[in-house]
Symmetry: C2
Subunit: 195 residues, 2 copies
């Protein structure tokens, strides 16, 4: 329906996560309707990210330097283990956390044929030895695969004398008990605390 | 929180219509996680659109040629008047329509200080004279401004002997009477048809 350059741009926008045809058209029209300068800056920002961003050689977070700012500045004795770099964004909202991260890039998942060697577990063990890590906080997702991965890693780490903890699971702050699912409520009940 | 190139890209994604911080981050991570080639093609598609797409000199639709494919091939005696180029996308889903379009780029809106000279009405009148237009279909939005603009234009066109029509207003196909708003129901009742 559109001329080829417009269709092509719509196609690229559609490849973004969660973007359908209608939304992609809206984005393409935004580009068309705005200044050429803005469009060029946008295009250059996309290229620049690919040119400059790599993985931190210590933790696996996205970084423009070999070692990311978090690994450079913070307490390496406490390592928070996450599944993906984007989980670091969420964790970083907790201002009180002063430790560093380790990105696994996935979970152990027999169903999807991913074993312990397919995620960055070896690298975690190496860090624990090298940096004298005292505590590893498992922040994998609270689902079957996340739990299993956390358990697997804790079994490897405990013999090394490292404290391994897991983010508490329970009802979310500000949520309604009425709408909480049964699995969450069951966990919350199991792990209830005296007050 | 992120290195500067990532933050910059997130900022550009945020400027897209309806995109918040979280969505912009997801888009930026998609770029980071995918191949360099894909990112370059995406960036080039953005630039290409700005380089090649202009407005059709006849109807105002987006086009890579001086005269858009629709104006080149279709029946110029029937003109469908729309507010914005994106409305043409929706109208084009009606496969049976063989006429051409005219984009007003807005509506008359006293509240927003837009008079008849601020939208492409003069250009429409010129086309009507030049192309021997027989029917003008007003497809402006069914709201106060769209209705007023349609009325205004019809008053200009009728003395020229042109048939002016307006898209029918009523309850949408597949919708529920239960959830229809009162204004829509009132219109549907006023314009009821014998069956």
């Amino acid at each position: 329906m559109f001329d080829e350059p417009i269709e092509k741009l719509i196609e690229y926008f559609r490849q973004l996560p969660g973007v359908g045809k209608k939304t992609a058209q809206r984005y393409a029209f935004y580009i068309i309707e705005n200044s050429k300068e803005k469009a060029e800056n946008f295009a250059n920002a996309i290229k620049e990210v690919k040119d400059k961003v790599k993985l931190c050689t210590v933790c696996g977070n996205y970084s423009t330097t070999d070692i990311c700012p978090i690994c450079q500045k913070r307490n390496r004795k406490v390592v928070c283990v996450v599944q993906e770099p984007k989980d670091i964004i969420s964790m970083e909202k907790v201002k009180s956390f002063d430790g560093v991260y380790h990105v696994l890039f996935g979970t152990i998942s027999p169903l999807e044929n991913r074993g312990p060697n397919d995620i960055k577990i070896k690298e975690l063990l190496a860090r624990v030895g090298k940096d004298g890590v005292e505590e590893v906080i498992m922040a994998t997702n609270p689902d079957v695969e996340g739990d299993a991965t956390a358990m697997y890693i804790s079994k490897l780490l405990k013999p090394l004398g490292v404290k391994v903890t897991r983010l508490a699971q329970g009802i979310a702050m500000g949520s309604d008990i009425e709408f909480a699912d049964e699995v969450t409520l069951e966990r919350a009940l199991e792990q209830r605390k005296e007050i």
